[in-house]
Amino acid sequence: MEEVELKMTQSKRVALCVTCLVDQVVPEIGVATVQLLRRAGYEVEFPEAQTCCGQPFFNSGFREQATDLAKRTVEIFEPFEAVVLPSGSCAAMIRVEYPHLLEEWPEWQHRAEELAAKTYELSEFLVNYADWIPRGDFEEIRLTYHDSCHMCRLLGLRDEPRQLLERVGGRISEMSESDRCCGFGGLFSVRMPEVSNAMTAEKLHQACDAGVEALVTSDPGCLTQMRGLTEGSSIKVEHIATVLEEVTR
C-alpha cells in the first residue's frame, strides 16, 4: 500500500468526483453518493468541468493522454478541501498514480500530492472521517462483499466498506477469495474477453456459493462487469452507495 498522509478535513463541504462511468452509465450511484454525504452532514459540490481521471489511458500505456487528464483533474479539484469518489479504483488513480505520473513536472507533482492527500474513497470517507453512524432499526440484509483490486491492494481498504454495511444491518457471508479479480481490468475486459469473462464467471460462482442474494462492491467498473454476466442468475450485483442509501432513507 502506498502511504499518503491524509489530511483530516475540517470543513463540512466536499467535492464529488463522480467518475465518468458513474456519470454516464450508472448515475444512480452518483445520486446515492450525494444523498449519503448529505446524511452524514456534508454539503456536496459537483464541479461540472470534470470528466475522466485518465485511468483507462494510463492502464493502456497512453501516458501523454493520461497526463493531460490528470493535470486537468488536479486543476478542477484542487480548490476543494476534500474530494470523495464512489470508486476505489479512480480514488487509487488520484492517490497513488498521479504523483508518479506527474513526477517529471515537480510543480504538478506537488499539486498532485496535495490533491492525493485530500482524496477519499466513499466508504473510507464515511467511516474514517465523517464517522457516520446511521440510526434506525435496520432489517437484516444477507450479502457478500467483493474487494475490488485497487481499493484493497493499493488503498488498503478492506474493513471500511464492511463496517458500513454492518452498521445498516448487513450480515456478510464472506465468499471464498473475496479479493480475487472480477475480470474487469478496464480495456483488458474487451482486449481479452475470453479470459475476462471466465474470470467474471468464476467470481459470480464464488459469490453464489456464499448463499446470498446480493453481491456488493465499491467499484462501478466491477459492478458493470459482473452485471454483464448475471442474466439468468439469482444474484444481484449492487454498489455499496445505493445499498446504503436505500436502507438509510
Partner: protein
C-alpha cells in the same frame, strides 16, 4: 515461440473450454496457494524477512559485477570450470562442445528454466545427444512432447490417466492410473537406468553463492542429486542474476523459496555443489562446469526493469494470478508463464514476439502481494504497455481510438455531445441498463456491455433536481 494477441486469445479460449484442465488449474494452484499461506503464517516475522531479503537482492544486483567475479574466483579455486554465455547460442555451443569432448550420447537433466529458455534439449538432439528430463513432471511432459505449463509444477495440465498412458508406453507395461505408487515406481525404474548410464548431467541452478563458489539446487524428488552425483560430468546453466553473496543470505533465499513455491519450510533436498569430487571422496562427479548465462539480463540492470531480476522463480505469482488460473501456462508460449512470465518473457525473449503478454493481466496486483521479493509486476506491465505506445508497436486503429477518446474527455462539452449521440445510437440495443448487441458485434462476446444511462448524472445535477430540499 510467440504470443500475439490473437494467438494468446485462441490458446486461452482452448484452455478455458477444457473442463478438465480448468479443474486441474483450480485444484493445483489453490492447493499451492493455501499451503504457502500456512507456512508463512508459521514463520515468525515473515514480512520483515521478505523486506530484508528484497534489500539483499536489490543491493546484489546493483553490484552484480563484483559478486560474479567473486563467484568465478571461488568456483575456479574449488576446481569448477566457469564459462560465460552472452546468449543462447553461446550457451548451447559451450554445452555441446563439452558433451562432444566426452563423447556423450545420453544426458540426464534436472529441471532448469534457463535451459528451457535457450532450447538446449533441441540443440543437443540436433547433434545426436539425447537429453532426458528427470523431474517426474518434466519427464511426463517430455514423453508427451509438450512443454511445461507451470514453473514448479510443469505437468499441472496432465491427468493421472495421461501419465499412466505415457509411462506405460515407455515401459511397455499397462499401468493403472489409480495406482500412483506403481506409476512413480515405474518412473523410478525407467529413470534410474538412465541415471546410471548417462555420460553427463545437466542442471540449472536455483542460486549460486559467491563466497564459496557453490551452485545450489533444490528438489523434492532427489533428481538434482542424481544428476549431479551419478554421471562423471556435471554442467549447471545459471542466469547471472541468480547470485547471492553469502551463505547467510542464501539461507533466506532457501527459506522463502520453498515456502513461496510449495508451502514447505524447506524443500526435501537442498544440494550444494562446490566443484568436482575431491581427493579422498569415494564417489561423485569428475568435472563440474558452470555456464553463466546473460541472454539479455545485463541489459536490464540499471533500467526501470531491473527489479524483475530479483525474481527467485518460485511460481507463487502464477498460483494467485486470476489470468493464469483461467488461461493456463501454455497460452503464454514461454518457459516463463503467469505474471512474472508476462514481464520477463518480452524482456528476455523479444518484445516483438510477445506483444500480448503485457496485456495478459487485469492489473489486479495479487502477484505483487504474494511475491517473496515484492516485485512490482503490475507497474512493470504498465511500463511495457507504455513502451509499446511510445515505440508505436500497437495497432494503428487502437492508437487512434485512444487518442480520440482522450481528446473527448479533455473537453467537457464535447464529451456531453458525444455521449448524447451515443445514447441515440444505442437505442435499438439498450434494455435494463445493458447493451444487447448481436454477438458478432459485441467485443465482450457473451458478456453484455453496460448501456449508457438514459440521463447522465451531470444532467440531473444541472437540472436542479438533486438540490438539497
Amino acid at each position: 515461440m510467440t504470443a500475439t494477441l490473437s494467438e494468446f486469445r485462441q490458446r486461452a479460449k482452448t484452455a478455458i473450454e477444457d473442463v478438465r484442465l480448468q479443474g486441474a488449474l483450480d485444484g493445483g494452484t489453490g492447493k499451492l496457494w493455501e499451503m504457502r499461506r500456512l507456512t508463512f503464517e508459521e514463520l515468525p516475522n515473515s514480512d520483515a524477512l521478505r523486506d530484508h531479503f528484497k534489500a539483499i537482492r536489490s543491493a546484489t544486483l546493483r553490484n552484480l559485477v563484483e559478486h560474479l567475479e567473486t563467484f568465478e574466483k571461488n568456483a575456479t579455486a574449488a576446481g569448477a570450470n566457469v564459462h560465460w554465455a552472452r546468449d543462447g547460442t553461446d550457451a548451447r555451443e559451450i554445452v555441446i562442445s563439452i558433451a562432444q569432448e566426452h563423447g556423450v550420447k545420453l544426458v540426464t537433466k534436472s529441471k532448469s528454466m534457463a535451459t528451457e529458455e535457450i532450447h538446449l534439449n533441441e540443440a543437443l538432439a540436433e547433434v545426436g545427444v539425447e537429453a532426458i528430463e528427470t523431474d517426474l513432471g518434466e519427464y511426463i511432459v517430455q514423453l508427451a512432447e509438450e512443454t511445461p505449463s507451470h514453473i514448479i509444477a510443469p505437468a499441472i495440465h496432465k491427468t493421472r490417466h495421461e501419465a499412466a498412458e505415457l509411462l506405460g508406453r515407455e515401459s511397455g507395461r499397462s499401468l493403472s492410473p489409480d495406482d500412483l505408487t506403481t506409476l512413480t515406481g515405474e518412473a523410478r525404474k525407467l529413470l534410474r537406468k538412465r541415471f546410471l548410464t548417462a555420460g553427463m548431467g545437466i542442471s540449472g541452478g536455483n542460486m549460486i553463492v559467491a563466497e564459496t563458489g557453490s551452485v545450489v539446487l533444490v528438489t523434492n524428488e532427489g533428481n538434482a542429486r542424481m544428476v549431479t552425483s551419478v554421471p562423471p560430468v556435471h554442467i549447471a546453466v545459471v542466469g547471472i542474476e541468480k547470485i547471492i553473496p553469502t551463505w547467510d543470505a542464501a539461507a533466506i533465499w532457501l527459506s522463502l523459496l520453498a515456502r513461496s513455491a510449495s508451502g514447505q519450510p524447506l524443500s526435501i533436498y537442498t544440494s550444494v555443489i562446490t566443484g568436482p569430487s575431491r581427493a579422498g571422496d569415494p564417489d561423485g562427479t569428475g568435472e563440474v562446469h558452470i555456464v553463466l548465462l546473460d541472454n539479455g539480463r545485463s541489459e536490464l540492470v540499471g533500467t526501470k526493469y531491473e527489479e524483475v531480476l530479483q525474481c527467485i522463480r518460485c511460481g507463487a505469482c502464477l498460483n494467485v494470478c486470476p489470468v493464469y488460473r483461467e488461461a493456463g501456462g501454455h497460452s503464454y508460449d514461454s518457459p516463463y508463464p503467469g505474471p512474472i512470465g508476462a514481464v520477463v518473457t518480452p524482456l528476455l525473449l523479444g518484445r516483438e514476439n510477445y506483444e500480448a503478454l503485457p496485456h495478459a493481466s487485469s492489473l489486479c496486483g495479487a502477484c505483487k502481494e504474494v511475491c517473496p521479493v515484492r516485485i512490482d509486476l503490475p507497474r512493470m506491465l504498465l511500463e511495457l504497455r507504455a513502451d509499446q505506445v511510445a515505440e508505436r508497436t500497437i495497432p494503428w486503429k487502437e492508437r487512434k481510438a485512444e487518442e480520440a477518446g482522450a481528446f473527448v474527455f479533455k473537453h467537457e462539452k464535447l464529451m456531453r455531445f458525444m455521449t448524447n449521440a451515443a445514447r441515440l445510437a444505442q437505442r435499438p440495443f439498450s434494455r435494463d441498463g445493458k447493451l444487447h448487441l448481436p454477438q458478432r458485434l459485441n467485443p465482450a462476446l457473451e458478456r453484455q456491455l453496460p448501456a449508457l444511462a438514459k440521463r447522465s448524472f451531470r444532467e440531473m445535477w444541472k437540472s436542479g433536481e438533486l438540490e438539497e430540499k
